[in-house]
């Protein structure tokens, strides 16, 4: 246990520091920050690696608020709601206080998120031993059904991205008969395309390519960098918005596609609705920072509930964390709590330490953060590119993997151009193997009887939930389309 603490706690501190630095860079999302770190965790012990990645997520959610407050540019999507009142406070000469409120609220949200995470994942995992191949197949289908919710503006493009991901997952040796598929006689492709390369390519390299055409961001001044923690009166005032943000973040984090951005804006709106100082919102209200920051740090913990207990990532960041698990041979899902309970408990401990670390490092790291944000964009992008190609090579000492990752980078930027969502493709890549291998194993066991999928109660239940997910999303889209048509037809 002592040895575990010796590695887990430094990993938590390191992950948080990396996350804050990455999150503070405008346009570098938590998932990209995590994807950049992913290759470096390959040589670490599994617990250390997943703790570092999870704590990067925690740190990045806070880091995003730094440029949001100081230069009116959110570092992450989730910090967009913080810009409104954070920047106004900065203009009033209260930048340090705004940063302090953000840091403290993120800490409160993170602790609440941890309680939800520990309380729910353990309960969901109790069904672990009852899972059979049909149930695992149904779990995979449930994961894929999430695409209906995550597809964004167009369900068809979301499904196309998902199917493309499933196709990528078929590259390599067939899971039942052992035949080679789509390998083009390349020995490097025999073991398939590692999901890690797909994620680093799509998220980090793809984004890097797209960002080449974007202008440089604004710069911060040195006097902005001292954090001031809120006074007792402000503490009392921000308690309610923190509670609102934490509750909404807990709920949204577990929902597919919910994520930090949605929960932040919801929390901001609800905090304003329940505030005694509504008129201050938009003019530098501390509550307007506390609610969204508590929400997005709660999400950083609760997004792990479906990922850990069911193996279904609900956001880009949890998908990258899932990649970290898979890289170490850990398969998130019901059996993780039975076969690798030590890793799960180490992760809990590490994430708790990560939240405490955020409070300490968040205070200390402001100067390096500002130094980094103020570097010229071409230099930063060049070093990120160099870090990616060096890190990907380090995974298996393979130049082929570097080339493959660059290829996925091109695919990622093309997907952005064609507005194809990335997460459905990642889901397809990650769940493709689970779906195919368990589907075929279930049919081998049942001698080709398809009724096995409805005779198994867990499988039937999960398939029913998947069906509800898809039909619910379809009905919602049809309603939205109908009301849009009515609005267009209405006389002006």
């Amino acid at each position: 246990m002592a040895v575990g603490l010796l590695t887990v706690i430094p990993a938590a501190f390191g992950g948080v520091a990396w996350g804050i630095l990455g999150g503070a860079l405008p346009g570098i999302s938590p998932s990209i920050t995590m994807a950049l770190l992913l290759p470096f965790t390959y040589s670490m012990a599994p617990t250390t690696a997943v703790v570092m990645l999870a704590c990067t997520y925690i740190g990045a959610e806070y880091g995003g608020s730094i440029p949001a407050i100081l230069i009116r540019t959110p570092g992450t999507n989730a910090a967009a709601a913080t810009v409104v009142d954070g920047y106004m406070m900065k203009m009033q000469g209260k930048a340090g206080e705004a940063l302090g409120i953000s840091l403290y609220s993120g800490f409160v949200g993170g602790l609440f998120g941890m309680l939800v995470l520990v309380g729910l994942t353990e309960r969901l995992s109790t069904v672990a031993l009852a899972f059979t191949p049909p149930a695992y197949f149904a779990l995979g289908v449930l994961g894929l059904s999430v695409i209906a919710t995550l597809a964004g503006d167009s369900l068809v493009t979301g499904l196309i991205a998902g199917v493309l991901g499933l196709m990528i997952s078929t590259v390599g040796t067939d899971p039942v008969a052992g035949l080679n598929r789509f390998t083009f006689d390349s020995p490097e492709l025999l073991s398939g395309i590692p999901p890690l390369l797909v994620m680093v390519g799509l998220y980090a390299v793809g984004d890097l390519f797209v960002k080449t055409g974007e202008p440089d961001w604004a710069k911060a001044t040195r006097e902005d960098t001292r954090i001031k923690f809120p006074s007792p009166a402000v503490w009392k005032r921000i308690a309610r918005p923190q509670a609102i943000g934490s509750l909404l973040g807990a709920f949204e984090g577990m929902m597919p596609g919910g994520g930090g951005a949605v929960s932040s804006f919801l929390a901001y709106n609800e905090a304003r609705r329940w505030s005694r100082h509504k008129e201050e919102f938009g003019h530098g209200s501390p509550e307007g920072i506390a609610a969204p920051e508590a929400a997005n740090n709660t999400v950083a913990c609760t997004a792990l509930v479906p990922m850990l207990s069911l193996g279904i990532p609900s956001s880009n960041s949890s998908a990258v964390l899932l990649g970290g698990f898979l890289m170490h041979g850990l398969i998130p899902g019901p059996l993780l709590f039975v076969s690798h309970a030590d890793v799960v408990h180490g992760l809990y401990l590490g994430m708790f330490a990560g939240n405490v670390a955020m409070l300490i490092i968040g205070y200390l790291i402001m100067s390096p953060c500002m130094w980094l944000v103020n570097r010229p964009k071409p230099y930063l992008m060049a070093f990120i590119y160099a870090l990616v190609v060096s890190g990907v090579y380090a995974i298996q000492n393979s130049i082929f993997h570097v080339g493959l990752t660059l290829g996925f980078g091109v695919l990622g930027s093309a997907m952005k151009y064609f507005r194809l969502p990335v997460l459905p493709m990642v889901l397809g890549v990650v769940l493709g193997f689970v779906v195919e291998s368990n589907y075929r194993r279930a049919l081998v066991i049942s001698s080709g009887d398809y009724r096995t999928f409805i005779q198994d109660p867990i499988a039937a239940g999960l398939l029913a939930v998947a069906f509800l997910f898809v039909t619910g999303a379809l009905v919602r889209r049809l309603r939205e389309a109908r009301s849009a048509r009515r609005a267009a037809a209405a006389p002006v």
Partner: protein, 176 residues
């Protein structure tokens, strides 16, 4: 209009992928120990699914183009010609010169992959950093070259000396 054109291009591309993937899937050999689904089973299903979705996307986009064009036709015939503002695309604005810059960045990466085993890690990564700075809009001067060399040295220390990753040394060990 811009969106529907983009969707038609995407639909055609994914339809071609579906066809190519299907042709490769049917060429997967059969195995005597295969299950009822077989190694070809799901790949063929995925190809069919992608083809159907591509056709739906193309059909939907074509319909949207036709709908967008219909109200304009009578108006054009009845009204005198007027100068029309360029169509505004929906959604977030696409960054300028993305294709050209993406190609440049990709070329940098491809050159790195091609040269790293010959030139060695330090020189190749320094080249990658310097050329990326240039493609990102920075100036290639003494300062940027010094930063690239310093950065390469730092990355070499981190990966090769500290993490013991055997990045390719290139021709240098045989020279000295």
């Amino acid at each position: 209009m811009e969106d529907s054109r983009r969707e038609i291009v995407l639909g055609c591309a994914t339809l071609a992928i579906a066809a190519g993937y299907y042709l490769m899937a049917v060429r997967i050999p059969h195995s005597d120990i295969a299950d009822v689904i077989g190694a070809q089973g799901l790949p063929k299903t995925y190809a069919a699914l992608l083809a159907i979705l591509s056709i739906v996307l193309i059909g939907r986009a074509a319909l949207a183009r036709r709908k967008a064009a219909v109200p304009d036709a009578p108006a054009m015939s009845m009204a005198p010609p007027v100068s029309v503002a360029p169509p505004v695309s929906e959604g977030p604005p696409v960054p300028k010169h993305v294709g050209w810059r993406t190609f440049g960045m990709l070329l940098n990466g491809a050159l790195y992959v091609a040269l790293v085993t010959r030139l060695g890690y330090i020189l190749s990564i320094a080249g990658l950093i310097a050329s990326t700075i240039a493609f990102q809009g920075g100036e290639l001067n003494r300062r940027s070259i010094a930063v690239a060399m310093g950065g390469a040295l730092l990355l070499w220390l981190l990966f090769v000396r500290l993490l013991h990753i055997p990045h390719p040394p290139g021709i240098w060990p045989s020279v000295f």
